[in-house]
């Protein structure tokens, strides 16, 4: 009986949250910036959740995400004139997956090694783009301005994208694929020895990561209407920030990327808006504080609380 009640409670909570999120553009119609921030939040949630899939659950410290994001962004920029909008997004994801195959030789490396190998991909693509005028060169590309341009029409796709990413990664984690993936993430050698084809899982999980990151990039580009190599392939923004969001929120959990993104972005924007001079300092110090006092990430604190409550109740 308690289980059913709890299920109802969660369902109500989720619906309420969704309702709230859906109405954001209307609530903040006179403050489009707020809607933009939340739009960005969903982009980051997508990036964090998709990275967490391969990096958290799968244990692959893949630092190439900026390449996936940028690939998606550039696909959008190049094809926006000729291809219908939503299809463009999907293509962005596909191109990102195609690009990610370059990383495959790195899979024979282990641990931090692999991480540094993947770090190169964004740089390589950046350099290629800078030197080819047909891809925009260093100046970048402008996208055609749509006739109806308002944040709301980008907000909902980003919300849906975040939801789909979370849903699909959730389903995958719960499936036998996710089972093997986590085994690999726990201990790669042990997984190999019981017959898990680790290379297959590494590649496939990276494809999932790349796909959603690519779509996120394409969506972002379609709103910003401008792509430029240093911004689209900026590692700090599109690789490191999402990873830190995951670490903050709790790696290897579904809630982690969401919580971490909210907290990270919340802190970042609150601080940069109100305390511009000291913003970097405070932001950095906050990261330190969180890492020191909540080393397992924020969601671990919350799960612990929930478990306590459950224990005392029953």
């Amino acid at each position: 009986m308690a289980g059913v009640k709890k299920a109802w409670k969660t369902a109500v909570g989720v619906v309420a949250a969704l309702f709230l999120l859906v109405s954001v553009p209307f609530l903040f119609s006179s403050y489009p910036f707020v809607t933009y921030i939340i739009f960005l939040l969903f982009i980051y949630i997508t990036l964090a959740a998709s990275w967490n899939f391969a990096g958290g659950y799968g244990g692959q410290m893949n630092l190439a995400q900026a390449a996936f994001f940028g690939a998606g962004a550039y696909t959008q920029a190049l094809l926006a004139k000729t291809v219908p909008p939503y299809f463009c997004l999907l293509l962005g994801g596909v191109v990102a997956v195609a690009i990610s195959t370059i990383v495959i030789p790195c899979f024979r490396l282990k641990g931090t090694y692999f991480a540094i190998g993947t770090l190169v991909l964004p740089e390589i693509i950046k350099v290629i783009i800078i030197n080819r005028e047909e891809l925009g060169g260093a100046g970048g590309l402008h996208l055609p301005v749509p006739t109806q341009y308002q944040i709301a029409s980008y907000y909902y796709p980003s919300l849906i994208l975040a939801l789909i990413t979370i849903l699909i990664t959730y389903l995958l984690i719960r499936s036998s694929f996710g089972y093997s993936l986590q085994a690999m993430g726990d201990d790669e050698d042990a997984a190999e020895s019981i017959g898990i084809a680790t290379l297959k899982y590494k590649i496939l999980s990276m494809f999932v990561n790349a796909f959603f990151a690519g779509i996120a990039g394409a969506l972002y580009a379609s709103y910003i209407l401008y792509v430029q190599p240093y911004q689209a392939f900026d590692m700090v923004n599109w690789t490191f920030y999402p990873i830190f969001m995951v670490l903050l929120g709790g790696i290897r959990t579904m809630k982690g990327p969401i919580l971490g993104s909210i907290i990270f972005m919340g802190l970042y924007y609150v601080i940069t808006l109100y305390l511009t001079e000291l913003s970097l300092i405070i932001f950095g110090l906050l990261l330190v504080v969180i890492a020191v006092f909540l080393p397992e990430g924020i969601s671990s604190k919350i799960t612990f609380k929930l478990r306590e409550k459950k224990g005392s109740g029953s």
């Binding site: 190998g117 670490l247 913003s279 110090l285 330190v288 890492a291």
Partner: protein
């Protein structure tokens, strides 16, 4: 436990030598002999300084497996300390070397006590977040206090040139290189011949057994951290004298290059890091020559990739040891 695959090591060395010879040939044929030695000298100087900057990073990683993302910032803080001491109190930067050391050692002590000692045991993730956060905070602090424009410590003798054979070099860089080399030689002696150095090496190779035979590993961590933070300060001062610097360069340039050199040269051997530094320095100088200045930082990347591809024993050696 013996380093395996000497053939692979030989192959790697052979390839590197082949590449260097090719560059040698290209430069001579294109620019002529004089230019070559000029660039070579500049590259070696750059490399020596990169090596001094990389050693503390490698040492900390070797002893306690701590990936200090704030390393670049510590270096730049050292540069600023010497800069301000010079501008405000007219203290010659060579004289301020020990002061820079002391200041950064103190910073390192606080860093260790407040942050590192608490999260060290938990795992890799909190250390990355915390050191990254600290890097941000320090960078922000420097931007706030010192503003973003590039600076250099310009003493009356900074502009003097010295000719050694066919080569003309800024005197200050030559002296800085000599100081750097002296420091590295001292460090090697320290590491190999003192009890503390031996303890550091023991802890980096097997901390559990080190505890069992009477080494207070916690103390070794702390002392290493203090020492290496101080060294970062010294590296910063040297950089401030020889080149220019500004707050954002720490993370971008020096951290990455320290990582690249450590991978290339191995965590354990100071000689390896010197070699790695020189390789990077030469590669940057010659790379800038052939590919243009914009690619300078990218060269560290490329080196890193090559190092990874050829290194037979993983990133920092099978056992990241000192």
């Amino acid at each position: 436990m013996v380093p395996k695959s000497y053939d692979k090591i030989r192959a790697k060395q052979a390839t590197i030598i082949a590449v260097l010879l090719a560059i040698l040939f290209l430069t001579i044929s294109y620019f002529g002999y004089g230019w070559l030695t000029q660039f070579f000298a500049l590259g070696v100087i750059l490399g020596g300084i990169y090596a001094v900057a990389a050693i503390p990073f490698a040492w900390i990683y070797g002893v306690m497996r701590f990936f200090n993302l704030a390393h670049g910032e510590l270096i730049i803080v050292g540069a600023y300390v010497s800069y301000w001491l010079f501008v405000i109190a007219q203290i010659d930067p060579f004289v301020s070397l020990p002061l820079s050391f002391a200041f950064l050692a103190a910073v390192g002590f606080i860093y260790y006590k407040v942050i590192v000692s608490r999260i060290r045991k938990v795992g890799v993730n909190p250390t990355l977040v915390a050191s990254f956060g600290l890097a941000f905070a320090l960078q922000g602090l420097m931007l706030l206090i010192c503003r973003a424009d590039p600076r250099a410590i310009l003493t009356p003798y900074s502009k003097v040139g010295i000719s050694i054979g066919p080569v003309v070099l800024p005197l200050i860089r030559v002296i800085v290189l000599l100081v750097a080399v002296t420091i590295m030689i001292l460090l090697r002696y320290f590491l190999m011949r003192t009890f503390f150095g031996r303890a550091c090496r023991a802890v980096s190779q097997d901390w559990e057994v080190s505890e069992m035979i009477g080494i207070n590993s916690e103390r070794i961590y702390m002392l290493s951290f203090i020492l290496c933070s101080g060294l970062a300060g010294i590296a910063g001062t040297l950089i401030g004298m020889a080149y220019s610097f500004e707050p954002t360069i720490g993370l971008r340039a020096y951290l990455l290059k320290s990582i690249a050199i450590t991978v290339l040269g191995g965590v354990g051997s100071i000689g390896g890091i010197i070699a790695g530094g020189i390789v990077l320095g030469l590669a940057e100088v010659f790379g800038a020559l052939f590919l243009g200045g914009g690619y300078r930082d990218a060269i560290a990347f490329i080196i890193l990739i090559l190092a990874i591809s050829f290194k037979p024993t993983g990133l920092f050696g099978k056992v990241a040891h000192l």
